[in-house]
Symmetry: D2
Subunit: 118 residues, 4 copies
Amino acid sequence: MSTELERLTARLRAFAEARDWEQFHTPKNLAMALAGEVGELVAEFQWLTPAESASLDPATLDRVRSELGDVTAYLVRLADVLGIDLVEAAGAKLDENERRYDPGRYRGSARKAPPLSS
Amino acid sequence: MSTELERLTARLRAFAEARDWEQFHTPKNLAMALAGEVGELVAEFQWLTPAESASLDPATLDRVRSELGDVTAYLVRLADVLGIDLVEAAGAKLDENERRYDPGRYRGSARKAPPLSS
Amino acid sequence: MSTELERLTARLRAFAEARDWEQFHTPKNLAMALAGEVGELVAEFQWLTPAESASLDPATLDRVRSELGDVTAYLVRLADVLGIDLVEAAGAKLDENERRYDPGRYRGSARKAPPLSS
Amino acid sequence: MSTELERLTARLRAFAEARDWEQFHTPKNLAMALAGEVGELVAEFQWLTPAESASLDPATLDRVRSELGDVTAYLVRLADVLGIDLVEAAGAKLDENERRYDPGRYRGSARKAPPLSS
């Protein structure tokens, strides 16, 4: 795992320990917390067109950054309690998808298959 | 951003470019893809007790690792198209929460406030 | 509650009882199951433009109908175990939103406020 | 569709028309709005044990009722713009699950298969 991610992981662990919140940080509960934060993120984009979502005004971008911070925090904490390396897990999925979605065959089409992952 | 996360970001970008899928990777669409993957992750834990979720059998752990890989891939790709640094965003939220949740006052209680983030 | 919704509620309750699955149907678990199904629903729309999502091909519409069936089943079951009347709860929110979003002031704008609910 | 659900559907349609918000109410956008509200619902339960989630204090129950109202409103509105009958769709899934999960075989076990739906 990367140094910066390792540092964030350690900070989140210390944060939970200092408040005796490890008892709440089961994978089940953290997955729910992650889902809650992703819900807030999705809500930021719900009435925007795809094009509008790509050129956010500064206030919306700040809220989105804050939501992405929450999502990242819970994701990193969940991976820590499960002993999973996120970058490695994503890399393994990407290896698989590079084999599965031939660039020539799937070029420009999201209809034939869901891009990026299964 | 950390070197390992930078490498993953670059790989995901190249993956999208090689298939001409950048047109689908708007923040709105990527937030939906992230929500879809988090839904699959949550589904893995839905019928488990919190204790069971903390000691997964190997097959379930493999599926969870795979889902966490998908979640990470979409999250990193979304942050890339928005120009947001995930580790920095999470760190800023953690700074805020360290001020907000005094360890003495919130010790052992998730009732008083949602731990880890707002 | 409506007769048709009452019948669906009763069928779902009998389904759970016949399999001794009431033990799994806590509000926490059912909320997770609902989130999982909504994730599958969102995934159906993730790469479509808003316009495309409004004119689905028959195969996609069938999958969406099936996902909406799952979402409805878990929502109705969750409301049943909580003793909440869904139509009444939605009506109360709509009363509130009719007061809050003056038709003249909010006409044609989703920017000023999130339409339909808070 | 049931009379009460029909009335709610009609009210939601009139609410959108009066504000010229039909333009925002594409299936893609409404699915996102639904996901956002389900995220808020899940967040209410995230730190509770399954048992605690089954005996909510009055204030939490009020918030949960309000979230269920929002979820129902978006679900009913989404079904309306798609021309899908929710009760019929849920009934069809339940028919399928009654065949699939034999009460004798699946009795008391959520391990063998996800209860209630696929």
